[in-house]
Symmetry: C2
Subunit: 146 residues, 2 copies
């Protein structure tokens, strides 16, 4: 198995971010790049374990550093658990659908929301209960404080 898929390159991504190429970071990044959709920490652990066992804490720290460097995006859920996805050029910001029953997050096409809703109203549809627009950042006071 190679260290790159059709899209992103593990080594290049880490270098660009100025992060050292540790075995664990490479394994996590590889799993993220090859993911079919947003992954939980548990799922990331399962997938990296296939090749090498990584400590849960290490995965959290790696994800945290990836997030700081905008390599990945974090998607919080209603169930006190976050999911993670690549934030690379090949995976631009897009809406997500979260099933509150099976707790699965799926990606919506990066359309205007109205179109996305039409798309969802199609044949194999979901029941939509609510739509949240969530802006993350740092408020003025916190910026001034640092």
């Amino acid at each position: 198995m190679t260290l790159e898929n059709e899209h992103c390159n593990v080594v290049a991504t880490l270098r660009k971010a100025g992060l050292s190429r540790t075995t664990q970071r490479m394994a996590v990044l590889k799993v993220m790049i090859q993911a079919d959709g947003p992954l939980s920490v548990g799922e990331i652990l399962k997938r990296t374990d296939l090749e090498q066992r990584i400590n849960k804490v290490t995965v959290y720290r790696i994800l945290s550093s990836f997030k700081e460097n905008s390599i990945i995006r974090e998607l919080p859920t209603d169930h006190g658990m976050s999911l993670y996805e690549m934030a690379c050029l090949h995976n631009p910001v897009h809406p997500h659908f979260y099933c509150k029953t099976c707790r699965t997050m799926s990606c919506l096409p990066p359309l205007r929301l109205s179109q996305a809703l039409d798309w969802f109203a199609g044949p194999s549809t979901f029941r939509i209960d609510d739509v949240h627009v969530h802006v993350n950042g740092v408020c003025r006071q916190c910026q001034e404080r640092s």
Copy 2:
């Protein structure tokens, strides 16, 4: 202190939802109606405690029943914690800004997102790191299963 503010009425809201008028439910709903913005469970506890001590578990159960009856909306955050706000006519769905530093959630005007972003770029600005559109509901398989 009365049981209604300029907007919503505690008793009417509970009756409409078919929920019994317990002391605790009324206290929580009153706090929610009088809230200046989304509240955490901890904050709700603090505010209800001023008049009567309510168990944490009870608050969770009350919020859960309010959510099921669309009396409130739940807003999950990056920090494994949810915030809650009224879902009444006077508080229509709108975007939120979450400061990842002080962990405060503030409401954005219910404008088109592009306008809201302009608004945010104004004089007293926030630093925006990312915008998430999050659709909650039940996926097809889970619907069929129930």
